[in-house]
């Protein structure tokens, strides 16, 4: 199934109609606008609440199913010392962004773990405001690559490709920001 253009809206009558009955039965994407007798406010609230809770639980389950294994892999990578090893490899590259070699540690911590862990490891370094900003840009664009990649995978995208994109685009954004900051 390949969609190149914007999907035609033929499946649904209006742009944003009320909660479609299709939610109750996943798979039936083209829910027909079943003629419902206008229910009272209370009944409508209850129905929306029920559909919302159901959609919430379903989404929770779907996210949990991909995020928890990704989190497990993350922990193992951390335990194996992969983060330190990557940081060691990336050390010489940090000068491209006007950063000290030690800044490779928070970047890799961010990629593998999350931004909170990255901020934690940044506090161990003594960085200038400008260095913090450049580092922040790289980490804000690329972080939690495994767990968030799993979510993108769930949406039907290639999690690895998007992980690579975030690393490359994040570092490029940091490099450009560093250059622009040098101008002003």
């Amino acid at each position: 199934m390949e969609h190149t253009g914007d999907d035609p809206t033929t499946a649904r009558p209006a742009a944003t109609p009320g909660p479609p009955s299709a939610a109750a039965a996943p798979g039936t994407a083209s829910g027909e606008p079943s003629p419902q007798p206008a229910p009272g406010l209370g009944a409508r609230l209850r129905r929306d609440l029920r559909i919302g809770v159901k959609a919430g639980l379903q989404t929770f389950w779907e996210l949990a199913r991909v995020m928890i294994p990704a989190y497990g892999v993350t922990l193992v990578l951390e335990r194996l010392g992969v983060i330190q090893w990557l940081a060691h490899l990336a050390r010489p590259l940090m000068s491209l962004f006007g950063l000290p070699g030690d800044a490779a540690v928070p970047v890799m911590v961010g990629y593998v773990l999350n931004i909170y862990a990255a901020v934690g490891s940044m506090q161990a370094l003594h960085l200038s405001a400008r260095e913090i900003t450049v580092l922040a840009i790289a980490i804000l664009i690329g972080h939690s690559l495994l767990v968030e990649g799993a979510v993108l995978h769930k949406a039907g995208m290639n999690g690895f490709a998007f992980g690579a994109l975030r690393v490359v685009a994040g570092l490029a954004a940091a490099a450009v920001a560093n250059l622009l900051m040098g101008l002003f």
Binding site: E2, T4, A55, T59, L140, G156, R166, A173
Partner: protein, 150 residues
């Protein structure tokens, strides 16, 4: 090994609780307000903004959730909306690219702003960068898909 398992269980529980406490309320609130006039006005206003990176009105709501709350939660809404009405691969690609570059605009940014990062660079610059990357990548993907299908 035992402490790794312990860390995994504790961390998983934390993660699950966080997803649960955010995802279920988001879905309920969406369901309750999706059809209302103010909600539609907000989505329409947001749609007018994200139209510039190639997103249509239907993709606007999941993109807004992701932009505000985070990739995981936006991703959840994307998955829901794919299930409900096929958004189309192109739209999902554009959303994923844009949200990959910028999401959880308040929470994530504030963490670094608290550390002393500049608000302008961390917020404004990043949004502009996200838009540029999205436009560039969509253009490349369009050509690649066209060539591949031809």
């Amino acid at each position: 090994m035992a402490d790794l398992l312990h860390a995994f269980i504790a961390g998983s529980f934390d993660l699950l609780l966080r997803i649960f406490l955010i995802v279920v309320p988001i879905m309920v609130v969406l369901e309750l307000f999706e059809g209302t006039r103010p909600f539609r006005a907000v989505v329409r206003a947001w749609a007018r903004v994200v139209r510039h990176v190639g997103l249509n009105e239907r993709s606007a709501a999941p993109t807004l959730i992701g932009f505000l709350f985070g990739l995981a939660y936006g991703g959840g809404v994307i998955v829901r909306d794919i299930r409900r009405h096929d958004l189309g691969r192109r739209q999902v690609f554009i959303m994923s690219t844009f949200l990959s570059m910028v999401h959880a605009i308040a929470e994530d940014s504030l963490v670094f702003i608290a550390l002393g990062a500049s608000v302008f660079w961390v917020v404004a610059y990043r949004i502009v960068w996200a838009a540029l990357v999205t436009l560039a990548l969509t253009a490349v993907a369009t050509v690649v898909v066209r060539r591949w299908k031809a």
